[in-house]
């Protein structure tokens, strides 16, 4: 390793220091604060805590150099809410020349407001008004700011009648009354029969993992510790439930308990030897109450769980049609496959992924380099191995990343990185760079002088590894047919199984090249290297440019023409950078510095691209297509209309393909008309939590997701990710029956 201070290096180091000095010198220019006033909600962050019944706690986090006036705080209760006197701490008192005596708060302030709610009030609504100023230059004041709060009521406050607020005896009497048999309280809704109030379902995600689900209407809850699960005729098998957090509650009857409102999904691990059993008989006993109403006696439900292919609903619940999803014999559908099946599907999916339009361009680079490296078997094997290594590592990292973020609560799926316009822009630039490399403008990897010397150099291996990484990066927006269920399994399975599934996907993707590298017979089938390779490489540059164009189109839909303009400028600068980079190979340090300058210049439009705000989405009223919203869906279902829900995204190639072949055709439109169905479309091109929630509900790893809701109630039926007109026809005619 050459010392940094010998001869030529000394000159370069000097240049380096100069450059750094110049750039660092520019920093103070940037560091000068231009007016950096915060928005009023950033300067004063308000949080509310309504967990204690009868008292609302508010907390303001005040940014440094900002303050709030005590005297300018106003609170007003919403419908059915009566607020008492707010308790505010003493602030810093001073006498203002114009405003008189004022009290101000810096850093943080806590307030508590007692309240009562009228019976039947579902939520605690109120408006909070506060006003504050900025202490240092520019000394300005914000106009009074009002925030509307809408909070859930804590468990015990529900049925407290609006007697004289603060009347402790009255409140205690109300609570007693609410736990008695419901006669004393004014409940708007009569208690439902147990079957309707507590719906119980159970299914097997895999032979050793069950999922139990209780669904309750609003205001009904289930006691965790009063639930027992038993297996009939299942010696040697034990159930291990993994109870989620739930709501803590002090119950008059049971003391401090944990209860669940709305919906409880309970994963239960099944341990022991199944002994070839295909189904199990599960008996669940549980107890629950209606909040402020009556408590139900112990309920026992029996369920037969099919371990082979999944869901059965409780035998004593109102009959619901089986929710087995439709598939074309491919086993498409969430949570169906055991690990082995998932791995096989993943392998197949990875293999098919090679053919997807996203991957094909990268495949072409790899194809060319494989052909070029046809010298020795050893080098061919090495290239295949390093490529596979790149693919496997990237899949593992990508998969683990998504899983980690999902467990942290972010709604992510496969391909969601393309919801970020910055990622789309960067990918487009990467595609352009690779295309330019193939067109001969710039040379990555081995330099011109090395091509003949065999590609067994370190740079060659690194190049293969990174081609593998690139293949995965580019493949992410595409979902191949088998991938869907494999991914769904991976997202529901424990870490190790999920990792194996992702690795299997990677293996599938890399399989063609592994085969060529290791099976000499296949390698012999490959054509002999020659001058035609150069032509082929240049031709294959054009699919790369097309991919860049497609990504630019996605960006246009996400952020509009300005963003595409910035991207195009970045592309031009990138092309210039790469061209100059190639020319400067044989030139001195100044040319190389110019490359650095150009590279920085390329980053500027990219940075600005990330700042472009999303345009106000005007609802594109496509004829006959309804935009997805949970409220609208519920409305349509209540009106006994079959609904075809389509979750799609502009960057999702499979979605676009399905639209082109099936959903945008006249046949489909006629089918909709015939069955009286409504076509509902959800656009997941940008981050959209409502749609993410829907996807999670159906355990879908990403888009596309097609769910058909039948006419007369019942659960939605999920279709496979690759549609054909017969699948759609069958699903809709059944839904309309």
């Amino acid at each position: 390793m050459p010392s940094l201070f010998s001869g030529r290096m000394a000159k370069r180091s000097a240049a380096l220091v100069l450059l750094l000095g110049g750039l660092l010198g520019m920093l103070p220019v940037f560091a000068q604060g231009t007016d950096s006033l915060l928005s009023v909600t950033d300067a004063y962050k308000l949080t509310a805590d309504a967990t204690q019944p009868g008292v609302l706690k508010l907390h303001w986090t005040i940014a440094p150099d900002y303050y709030l006036y005590r005297g300018r705080m106003k609170f007003k209760g919403g419908a059915g809410v009566t607020l008492g006197q707010a308790q505010l701490p003493d602030g810093e008192k001073h006498h203002d020349e114009y405003l008189g005596d004022v009290e101000t708060y810096h850093h943080a302030v806590d307030a508590s407001i007692p309240y009562t709610v009228a019976t039947g009030t579902a939520r605690l609504t109120l408006s909070v008004q506060y006003q504050g100023c900025h202490e240092v230059d520019p000394k300005i004041c914000y106009p009074p700011h009002t925030e509307q709060l809408d909070l859930p009521l804590p468990a015990n406050a529900g049925a407290a009648a609006a007697n004289a607020p603060g009347n402790a005896l009255g409140a205690a009497l109300d609570r007693l009354g609410s736990n008695a048999n419901g006669a004393a309280t004014d409940q708007d809704t009569a208690p439902l029969p147990a079957e309707q109030a507590f719906r119980f379902e159970a299914l097997a995600q895999n032979p050793h993992r069950l999922l139990l689900r209780w669904t309750m209407p609003k205001g009904y809850y289930l006691y965790r510790d009063q639930t027992t699960l038993k297996l009939r005729d299942a010696a040697g098998l034990t159930l291990k439930p993994a109870w989620p957090a739930g709501t803590a509650r002090h119950d008059e009857h049971y003391g401090d308990v944990t209860v669940y409102f709305d919906q409880l999904e309970l994963p239960v691990a099944l341990e022991g030897d199944l002994g070839g059993r295909r189904s199990l008989q599960l008996e669940a006993s549980f107890q629950g109450c209606q909040d402020g109403g009556l408590c139900y006696p112990l309920m026992t439900r029996s369920v037969a769980i099919d371990l082979g292919d999944g869901t059965k609903t409780s035998t004593s619940a109102p009959s619901t049609p089986s929710s087995a999803p439709v598939g074309e014999g491919e086993g498409e559908g969430p949570l169906q496959a055991s690990l082995m099946a998932a791995l096989l599907l993943a392998l197949g999916g990875g293999l098919v992924l090679n053919l997807m339009p996203c991957v094909l361009p990268v495949l072409s680079i790899k194809a060319v380099s494989v052909l070029e490296s046809g010298e020795t078997r050893a080098t061919a094997r090495r290239h295949a191995l390093f490529y596979t290594g790149g693919v496997l590592s990237s899949f593992a990292v990508l998969g683990m990343g998504i899983l980690a973020l999902r467990s942290a609560g972010h709604a992510l799926g496969w391909g969601t990185q393309l919801q970020q316009p910055l990622v789309v822009g960067l990918l487009a630039l990467v595609m352009l760079a690779v295309g330019l490399s193939m067109s001969g403008v710039v040379q990555f990897g081995a330099s011109l002088s090395n091509t003949g010397a065999g590609l067994a150099t370190r740079s060659g291996a690194a190049g293969d590894f990174f081609t593998g990484v690139l293949a995965v990066v580019v493949a992410s927006p595409c979902t191949a047919p088998f991938m869907g269920s494999a991914l769904a399994y991976a997202f529901a399975a424990p870490m190790l199984s999920a990792l194996l599934v992702f690795l299997a996907l990677g293996l599938g993707l890399a399989l063609p090249f592994l085969a060529v590298g290791f099976v000499p017979a296949l390698a012999r089938l490959l054509p002999r290297p020659g001058r035609w390779m150069e032509t082929l490489k240049q031709i294959l540059a054009f699919p790369m440019y097309l991919t860049a164009a497609w990504l630019a189109w996605v960006l246009a839909n996400q952020r509009g023409a300005d963003a595409v303009g910035l991207l195009l400028v970045a592309m031009v600068l990138l092309a210039m950078t790469l061209w100059w980079f190639e020319r400067s190979r044989s030139h001195g340090i100044t040319s190389k510095l110019a490359v650095a300058v150009l590279a920085i210049a390329t980053l500027a439009p990219v940075y600005l691209l990330a700042q472009v705000t999303p345009p106000a989405r005007s609802a594109t009223a496509e004829e006959g297509v309804v935009a997805y919203s949970p409220a609208k869906l519920a409305e349509l279902r209540a009106a006994n209309t079959p609904v075809f829900v389509d979750m799609t995204a502009d960057w999702c190639v499979t979605c676009k393909a399905n639209e082109h072949t099936v959903l945008d055709t006249q046949t489909f439109r006629d089918l909709l008309r015939r069955t009286g169905a409504v076509y509902m479309k959800g656009d997941w091109t940008d981050v959209n939590p409502t749609i993410s929630a829907f996807l999670q509900q159906y355990h879908s790893p990403g888009v596309p997701l097609y769910v058909v809701f039948p006419k007369h109630g019942g659960p939605g039926r999920q279709l496979s990710t690759v549609l054909t007109s017969s699948i759609v026809e069958r699903a809709l005619t059944e839904a309309a029956r």
């Binding site: 290096m9 370069r12 180091s13 240049a15 380096l16 450059l19 750094l20 750039l23 660092l24 520019m26 920093l27 220019v29 940037f30 560091a31 231009t34 007016d35 950096s36 006033l37 915060l38 928005s39 009023v40 950033d42 300018r72 203002d96 020349e97 114009y98 405003l99 004022v102 006003q131 100023c133 900025h134 230059d137 520019p138 000394k139 300005i140 004041c141 914000y142 106009p143 009074p144 990897g445 330099s447 740079s459 340090i589 190389k592 510095l593 490359v595 650095a596 300058v597 590279a599 920085i600 980053l603 500027a604 940075y607 700042q611």
Partner: protein, 179 residues
Amino acid sequence: MLDRSNWLILILAVTVAAIGGYAGHRRHAPAPDGSAWLGRPLPALALPDPAGKLHRLTDYHGRRVLLNFWASWCGPCLEEMPALVRAQTQFARDGALVVGIAMDEPARVRAFLAAHRLNYPVLLGRLKTPDSSAALGDSGGVLPYSVLVDADGRVLATHAGALSAAQLEQWLAPSADAR
């Protein structure tokens, strides 16, 4: 490929530029951005005075005008007022005019004006969106906010926060476009 030292230069340069760019662009939203208004003619606003009479901003054509948005609950605004009164006295003979636009409830404005004498006209700003100060670039509604308008009704400058004596002098001093 680049040799080691060239890689070093390239990577370091890009990193430093990125840091610099990031540090420079750490802007919070929304800083009152009247810069969009510079050079543009004032919108044709018509606002009532505390007595109820409607005044158009075009009535002030021919004079350099300083529109000062304020409110009775805004401490910095009230601190700035004596300086504005002084500026009005000093530069009135040169044709400049200060116009106060109160972003406040009319009753409070009348009460304030009864207690404090001002030597420049005060108009009642529109409080409902789009409110008057937002209409002239004060997107966050912060006060005080001042807009300088030339004799032809074009916006020359905007400023959030109180104007210093030096700034007032610079804004209102006689200039080429005085009559």
